[in-house]
Each structure stands twice: as structure tokens, then as C-alpha cells.
Symmetry: C2
Subunit: 505 residues, 2 copies
Amino acid sequence: MTAADAYAELIRRSKELGVLNSCAAVLSWDQHTYMPARGAGLRGEQMAFLASLSHQKFTDPKIGELLAAVEGSDLVKEPDADASANVRELRRAYDRATKIPASLVDELARVTTAAQQAWEQAKKANQFATFRPHLERIVELKRQEADAVGFKDHRYNALIEEYEPGTTVVELKELFAGLTKRLVPLIQKVADSPKKPDRTILERDFPVERQKIFAESAAVALGFNFAAGRLDTTSHPFCSGFGPGDCRITTRYNPRFFPEAFFGVMHETGHALYEQNLPAEHFGTPLGVACSFGIHESQSRLWENQVGRSRPFWDHFFPRLRQTFPALADVSLEAFYFAVNDVKPSLIRVEADEATYNLHIALRFELELALLSGDLAVVDLPGAWNERFAALFGLAVPDDARGCLQDIHWSFGGLGYFPTYTLGNLYAAQFMVAVKSDLGAESLTEDMRRGDFGRLKDWLVNNIHRNGQRYRAGELCRRATGNPLSPESFLLYLNEKNSELRGVC
Amino acid sequence: MTAADAYAELIRRSKELGVLNSCAAVLSWDQHTYMPARGAGLRGEQMAFLASLSHQKFTDPKIGELLAAVEGSDLVKEPDADASANVRELRRAYDRATKIPASLVDELARVTTAAQQAWEQAKKANQFATFRPHLERIVELKRQEADAVGFKDHRYNALIEEYEPGTTVVELKELFAGLTKRLVPLIQKVADSPKKPDRTILERDFPVERQKIFAESAAVALGFNFAAGRLDTTSHPFCSGFGPGDCRITTRYNPRFFPEAFFGVMHETGHALYEQNLPAEHFGTPLGVACSFGIHESQSRLWENQVGRSRPFWDHFFPRLRQTFPALADVSLEAFYFAVNDVKPSLIRVEADEATYNLHIALRFELELALLSGDLAVVDLPGAWNERFAALFGLAVPDDARGCLQDIHWSFGGLGYFPTYTLGNLYAAQFMVAVKSDLGAESLTEDMRRGDFGRLKDWLVNNIHRNGQRYRAGELCRRATGNPLSPESFLLYLNEKNSELRGVC
């Protein structure tokens, strides 16, 4: 078999797996949107069948043979060639999938299914002890997973590789240290400022049907294609790109709190624009898949915060907003803009503002590292959480439900996932600086004031979306912005906004 | 391998196929309800992938070996044993699937996909010539299919076996002859009667939201479990039972015509009650699958017509109906009951009343037989249709769009499908006679007048639903009613109702 034949067969199999996995994506979407309660049992069997078939097809030794036949051939001589990226990323995923023993995969599935139920109960009852043995087992199994996959320096590198390939503990530690050092005083200055927004203007009457229409109109303005997607309602918002022509987002509506659904839709639309603009011809291969979790999150954060909480955005949308919601008749653009940009330490990550949010992540990253290395025992987690939380936020954690039990991630074994949220924030700010430099800050502002986001979207399509996994996240960032990732752009952005709003920083 | 081991492995594979096929059912439902337009391409790939995998797994020669190892063993000595029914029906399906060459399966898929598009265009343009070459090819391929499967006496027997196993051309000819002979004069008498209902009372203001609530309340009263199912809106109504705990029905609403959505929901609820009450423990095996298309249709027709157009049903529901729809304030129960039971020859099958409907089917059955045998050339179909239509209905067919082009079935190769609609009507009437005999006609009427359909549903669950494919349709009918299928109960039912309404017959 020639290298070209091997590559063609590899791509054929990869695309078939793409179709297979997209079937599971449809079933999962249905499970969270429309499936009746009693359908859960059958749905579990369907998902297990598809997952097992997918794992079986992907770990077929033939895939390893095909990869070996292409690697080292002329096809992958140019690092930027299609084949180079596809082979590099298929190799990474194949090695990971084949190195983890089936017995460990099975046990992780079993343990995390039980752990998610235990976590829900523990959170409800505010009783860490219920969750403790499950988390202990998960930490142990994730150590085994890291050992099976192999790693340099720190087991955590093997875990983060699943979400952010190429990123290391050393890099993350440096990023978080630099960020936290300057974020904490910034947040303190904001807290000390006498200027406070009136947040109650966001807690008025916002009829759900009107919220839906308004959010949809914003999604359309951003570039979401409703002929190739949908917006539905779920208790936990998400975006799921099935493949070319079909990307679904969800949100949840609170009739007495405007930001929840609206910024949720902005966020998911950011994810969706990425999915809708991946190159369709590469569907099912790494070149047709988003670069990393961090880069994906950069797209949601860019539209949610960099755009959606910006002044020119509301220059355009606020008159429409006030027309849509009579409850805002007496509210000025300035008051509204200030309210949606409040910065204030709080207990819950998912309710945090764009600045303090990253301290929540820094805390979790630190604790995950300590748990995995054994420096922190699971039994000591609540104490460690509360102590560090007080140091970072200046707040006492009243109970574990609002402390170390608040997030689902550890219960599904997602150690290594949290840092990608902050990476997303940092990438988003750095991309936005590059966009302004490339397109002109003033003319971009003028675009937004007219409700025209076309050039911004096109920049993202050309510099981020259409690349798929052609480059790892770090390289993609260098190519798009001219620099490696740093917290500078993000900190500058926060400083500017908060000095504009409160005259601090 | 012992026969018991072989049977266990056969059932394991059959259940796995059940789960696999149920994934395709979810995707198909989504395709017709919520999929955005541009998702069609990917959906086609997904469906093709799942269908091909299912075919490949089911035609695995190992299935044949397992069947052979069980057949003739003690496991299948008792004809009523679980294994006997499962092995009998798996053998039938396996033989059919393996006898038809893959090349013919592929060509049928290709030809019918193109034919459905051509049919749509032909119907729209009222131009039979556009569809003719496609239908010619389909008839030829269906002949080849029948030859590959094998048959006694008439190729049509091999085709109807796909929908109504065990039924033959000879039986159907006798049924239709007996039915038509007495239906034609009955319909004539009704037409000659001076008493006519006022059908315009059904063409008033029926707000869609209220229609939905009213139809859902009726579905609940019949026994549809909304914790294990849903009702959505589609352009072509259907029922899809994914498996235990998840059965979805759809309807379409006309804000100016009440019967469309309401009797549609009654109809689909009849199908859904069957699906919801199949034995869950047999899911994926023949014992967990509905008996036949004709029996399935009997359940929809029973609830739609035998119940839903009955006097005691409206004794209960009409006061609620008039409360729900102010447009009916001046309408009496008698006028409404008469209007929904009008009998009148018309051109379009899907709009036909429960009596004339069967003449539409008799016509199609006759023409299908002639097409397949070669007695009728496709080019002569429009003429033959119009001639027979005039004879049966006393109406001139104005154009082919309202004539031989009106139905989709032939374009997807569904020759042999139509007769199951009338079988459903006949079974429904015969089942209802048996129900009344078993439960007492008067007390059943009292139940309905109170809106209580529990005993009727239980009778159907026990006599029909829970049997799955334990018996073929004919045997199921004998066991449930004490008699083989005949048109007598149906004709008696029509005579009684129309003599009550118009004093004829």
C-alpha cells in the first residue's frame, strides 16, 4: 500500500467515525431538549452502543498501521500540509485511545456515572462526605490514566492534553501567576471605588417570549445561520455542532433577570459561529474539528464579553432593547452598560463577572494540581478550598455546596478542563487586540454601532475557524496575533473598561 | 454450541440491532420535526451509515448459523413458545434480507430516491410523463425483488409479505370483492338520502394553541403516556416508537378546520398506544415488535373512527369541545356528530371518510396487481385509474395530480403497502365487536360517556399489544375475536351508523 493509499483510507475511516459520532451528538442533544423522562433507559443503551462502536472502530489496529504507513512519507514533509495536521492529531488521539486499557475506560465510565449522582446528592444535602469516596476513586483513576498515557514532568500534563493539546503545567502556572497577581489588586480597587452600578435594573420584567426574539435577533446579527442551526431551551445551556449545516445552541430564560438568557445566547453563538465555519470538506477529520477547548471558549467569550458587554454593541442594541422591554423605559444606556459590566467577588463561578471569573479558575487549577500530585488529600479539599477562597476573594465560604461542591466537572472526571475557561478569556482579549489592529479600532467600533459584525466575523473565520486543527492553540495564537499567549491584553482590557466606568485602575 | 447458547446469542444480536435501529428512528424523527434545512446532507450520511451497518449486522452469515442451530431443537417445539415466534420471524426477515442481492438493494435505494423527487415534480406540474419512466423502473425492480425472495402463485405475495406476513393475494382479492360489492350500494344510498350534515361548522375558528391542548387531553384520556412520549408538529403526521419509554407522535394544525389535527392525533395515539404497550423486555426481538402493518393500522383506526367518531365519545367530549372553542357555541352535539361522520365520495384518499376510504384502497390494490403482473403497462395507468375511479366513485378525475399521482407510496417502491390500510379498518371493526362482547356493549358505552377508556385499552393491551409478533395477523385475529378476518363487522358498523344518522341502509 502506498502512503497516498494509506492516507486516503485513513481519511475515509476518520470521516466515517465523524458521521458515527455525529449520530451520538444528535441523540445527546435530543436527550437534553425533548426526550421524555422515561426515554432515559433506552437512550443510555443507544449512547453506550454508539460510544463502544466508535471506540472499537477508532482503536482498530488497522488505524495504527495506516498512520505508520503515512508517517515519515513525503505526504507529511510540509508541516502545514493537510496531511501533516491530520496525521499529527489522529496519531495523538489514537495513541491516547489505545494506551488507556479498556478495563480503565470501563471503570472510569462506571465510577463517574455513580459519582455524578453522588455529587448531585452531596451538593443538595451540602454534605461533602457523600461525594468524598467517589472523588478519591476518580483522582486515583485519573492518575492511572495519566500513567497509561505517559507524560513529562507532571501527570497533569497528560490530562490537560485531552482538552488543550500542547499546553503544559509550567505554562499554565506562569499564566495564572501573572494573571492573579494583577487581577487581585484590580478587583480590590473596583471594590473600593464609590461608583456602583444599579444592578436591580436587570431584575425587572423580561417576558420570556420577547427575550427569545431579542436574543435570536442578536444571534442573527452576529452571523448565526438559523437555516443551519436552532436555538432551544434547556436547564444547562450548551452548543452542539453536529457537523456541516447543523449546529444547535440552547439557553435558559429567567423572566426576572435579563443577563442570564441573553449573555448565554451570546456565549453559545460564539461557540456556534466556530462550528458553523469549520471547513465542511474536512468534516470528520482533525482539519474539520475545532482547535482546542481553550480556543473554542475564546470564541464564546469574545462574543459574550469583548463584544456583548462593549459600549458600541449597546450603542446599537440598547434602543432596540428598550423598545422590546417596557420595564427599561426609565433606564439610560449608561446605567445599563454599567450594570452589565459590574465586577464583584462572589461565591459561584457560573454567576461570576468576567474579571473575578478567572480567580475561580485559578483556585480550581491549583487544587487539581495538588489533588493529582497527592499534596492535597481529598478529605482536606473543603478546608483548602475555603482557605484559598478567602485569600483570593476576601470572602468566607458559607458551606461546601457553595464551595468545593458547586461544579459538576470533577464528578465526571474532568480534571484538566477548568484552565481552558481562563485560556478562552485570555485568547479572546488577545484576538480582539489583533482584530482591532488589522481592521482599525475606530472603523470596527463604527461597524458595531451600526450592528454590523461582518468584518469581525470574517476575521475570526479566516484566522481561527477555517483552520480547524491545522495548528495547535499556541501556534494558532502566534499566527493570528503575532505573539504567544499572555495575560496582557486581557488585563489591559479590564483596566480600560473599569477605569472608564469607575475611574479606577 | 448448544441450541440454548445459539438462541441466547441470536437474541443478544437481535437486541443490539434493536438499539442500533432505534438510533436511526431518533434521527428520522428529528429530521421531520426540528432539523434545520441545511442539516439534510449530513442527516442523509448519518441515515445511510446506520442503515448500512444494520443491514451488514443482520445479514451476517453467523445469524443464519444461529438460526439453523435453534431450528428443529426442543426450544421451538411449542409453537406458542417465545423462541418459536422469535425464530420464525427472524428467519423470515433474515431470508428476505439475504436473498435480495446487495446490488438490487442499492439500485432500489437509488431509483426510489430519484423517483420521489420526480413524483413530487410530476404531481406539482400535473404531468404523469415526468414520473412514468421512474415508475416503470420501480415496477421492474419490484418484480426482480419478488423473484429473488421467491413466492407462490403471484409475485405480489412476495411484496405484501414485507408488510403483512402470511396474507395472500387470494385472501385479499376475496376480502376486497366482498367489501366493494356491499360498500358501493351503501355509499350510493347515503348519497341519495336527503339528510345532509352541515360540514361548514367544522370550518370555523379553531385557534391552534387550543386545538393542541384539547387534542393532548384526549390523547391522555385514551391512555397516551406523556412521560414516555411527545406530541409535535410536522407537515406529514406520523408515530414513531423508538423503544421502551419513548414514543413520539406528530400532527398538523389547520386553524380553520377542526378534524385535521384532532382525528390525526386520535389516529397517531392509536398507533402510539400499541408502541407504548409492547412488552419492553422483548425490545429488539420480534416479540417486542408490532405484529404487522395491518394490525398497527387497526389500532389507529379503532381509536380514530370506532371510538373517536362514536356518539358516546362525543357525549363526553363535546361539552368540553364547546367550552374550548367559542366558535361552536351555537352548534349542537347532534349536528357536530353528524358532521364528523359524513360519508361522501371524493377524489383524495387522505381526505376520505371512513367508508369511501376503502374504495380508494380497492382501486390501488387492483392496479398494483395489474402493474406487477404486466396486465397493465405504466403508460396506461392514468387511463385505467380514471376509468375504474369513475366506476367505483361515480366521479370524473379532473387531472392526474388528483388521480394516480396523489400518493407517495409507489415512488418509494411501496407496492403491497396500500391493502394494509383497509385491513386495519376491517380488523378495527372486528376487534371492537369482540371488545363489546367481552366487556359488555352497554357498560363500555357508559365508560366512554364518562371519558373512561381504561377497560378498552386494557383489552387491546392484553389481546393485541402485548403479543408482539407471537402470532401472525390472521391467527391474532382468530384468538382475539374467535373468527378469521371478514368484512362483516365493518359493514355492519357502517350500516348501523348510517342508518342511525340518515335512516338509510
